[in-house]
Subunit: 312 residues, 2 copies
């Protein structure tokens, strides 16, 4: 494929940034990839595994001369990074981010972007339970949604160019209002993660069931929860702090529903439980039909996927 | 391998029974396999796909002459089935079940088993989100736990014979007290399932986020929940009705923990969230070390496993 950006600066070198680097290299989409990470060890790893041509100890240095800057740091770190890089952005540069929350990122980043640069907030809906520069791989974004939440007056040429990069990495691209994005994500991702974290925490506290039994007999339900609950703690802390309103709204609804089911169990209301469990089956069918998951039976332990390059 | 039972009667012909039939056939463990299902269509399917040599419209007929009877019906149906078959069991016959709850099954079944037969309650911790006779496959039990909860005075010869069958189908076998079994399962399976059902139900009710968006953008957390929430409604209704006390105990603890995290979000207590999310990571590591899951990254969409024989 043809080069889309001349020099891409990755600010933060975790799972998403390193996967972008692998995907851009595999498809020849970037002339040069440079990076910044706070930790010297991460920067050294990035050079060692070849995801960056150059690394810089400061974000301000890293963005100089870049025509694409990707903010791939936890949402809580976006404001400080944006303030640091703002004065150093090249004219005509596009800045995007990969945060899981969008309203808070827009508020944190947009004020620091100069008039002659373009900010296009983004969210790749892709990931694994691993983090760090060695966890990335070129196919992470293939067939996954990459949501963009541009302002109404965003330069259409810059937007089309960024979209072409994302599509060339295999992603499906859609645009959405930032507030609506945050509501959708609170339902399909943020609240489910909090619930998984909670259930794993409950198991950890239990005295009557030993920890080794929880681990030894972890069945499909709980095992899936532990995978979710193994995700990066910093990233998820920031998600909940910055998408607070939408998550609290969904959590409130969740608690109500749970109490109704809990009462049905206590009262022995089998019809209520059966009807509820029958309705939820339909949603699953919809997800399979939408191509968001396979219809293959989950054996509770899927075969290991092919190990991607650069995977720890 | 050598034949372990001469004639096995499967009462109920869903995912577990049909998988047992495939596994016994593949390994030559049963001389003859006969079956009973309430539905004429299921019985016809069982003959068509060859999981049974003969089928019977009544459970009482099916168990005649069998040296192993497997009760593979929802927990709520166990008492009636046990009452029906009790007078028809062959002397020396072993009766086992595959229910996900054990105390309630013991109470429902044991009183109906005659003196000259042996009842050994069991629970294969294996499954997929599919149900019915076409969903079974021979390798379902490979490397999965099959917990037995025999009474203290259970005939050791009958117990060893049943264990040899389960191990020959690939399962790991352990014994446990029925009450303890129910507590462990409430933590690692029953409560996580109820929570997943609840979250999927919340998404279904939401007006501000359309159903099509929930489906289209279902991310890893929620997608895993929908798979769990697609399990058989009858089976799960009965699990919650019959393991009520243990599930209500764990649900109470879960609600407490959730409220503490909810409060941390509301108050902006990032340290609390970070510490909690860091602790839950350790449990995941334990599960991988115990061989209960692979350490391969979950791409959010595992490659389809090889399609087993007889799979719908």
């Amino acid at each position: 494929m043809t080069q889309i950006y001349r020099r891409v600066a990755l600010i933060g070198l975790g799972l998403i940034a390193s996967s972008m680097a692998h995907a851009m290299r595999a498809n020849g989409l970037a002339g040069e990839i440079v990076g910044h990470a706070k930790s010297a060890e991460t920067r050294a790893t990035a050079l060692e595994i070849g995801i960056c041509d150059q690394v810089f100890a400061s974000a301000a240095e890293a963005v100089q001369g870049a025509d694409l800057v990707v903010l791939a740091v936890p949402v809580g770190a976006m404001a400080a990074i944006a303030a640091e890089i703002g004065p150093h952005l090249a004219p005509g540069c596009t800045v995007t981010d990969v945060g899981s929350v969008k309203q808070a990122v827009v508020e944190a980043v947009a004020p620091h972007i100069p008039e002659n640069a373009v900010f296009i907030p983004g969210h790749p809906m892709a990931g694994t339970e691993y983090s760090g520069p060695r966890s990335g791989f070129a196919t992470l974004f293939v067939n996954r949604w990459w949501l963009l939440t541009p302002a109404a007056d965003t330069d259409p040429v810059a937007l089309a160019r960024l979209e072409s990069l994302l599509k060339a990495m295999g992603a499906k691209v859609n645009q959405m209002d930032p507030a609506h994005h945050d509501q959708v994500l609170a339902v399909v991702s943020h609240t489910p993660h909090l619930i998984a974290y909670t259930m794993v925490g409950v198991a950890d506290h239990l005295a009557q069931v030993s920890n080794s039994e929880v681990i030894e007999y972890s069945a499909s339900g709980f095992r899936d929860f532990t995978r979710i609950a193994a995700s990066d703690p910093t990233m998820w802390r920031d998600v909940f702090l910055t998408n607070k309103d939408a998550v609290l709204d969904i959590l409130g609804r969740f608690a109500e529903e749970l109490f109704v089911l809990q009462r049905a169990i206590r009262m022995g209301d089998g019809d209520h439980l059966f009807d509820y469990f029958t309705r939820t089956r339909a949603i699953r069918r919809g997800i399979i039909e939408a191509g968001q998951d396979t219809s293959a039976p989950d054996f509770g332990r899927a075969p290991a996927p092919v190990k991607p390059a650069g995977q720890a």
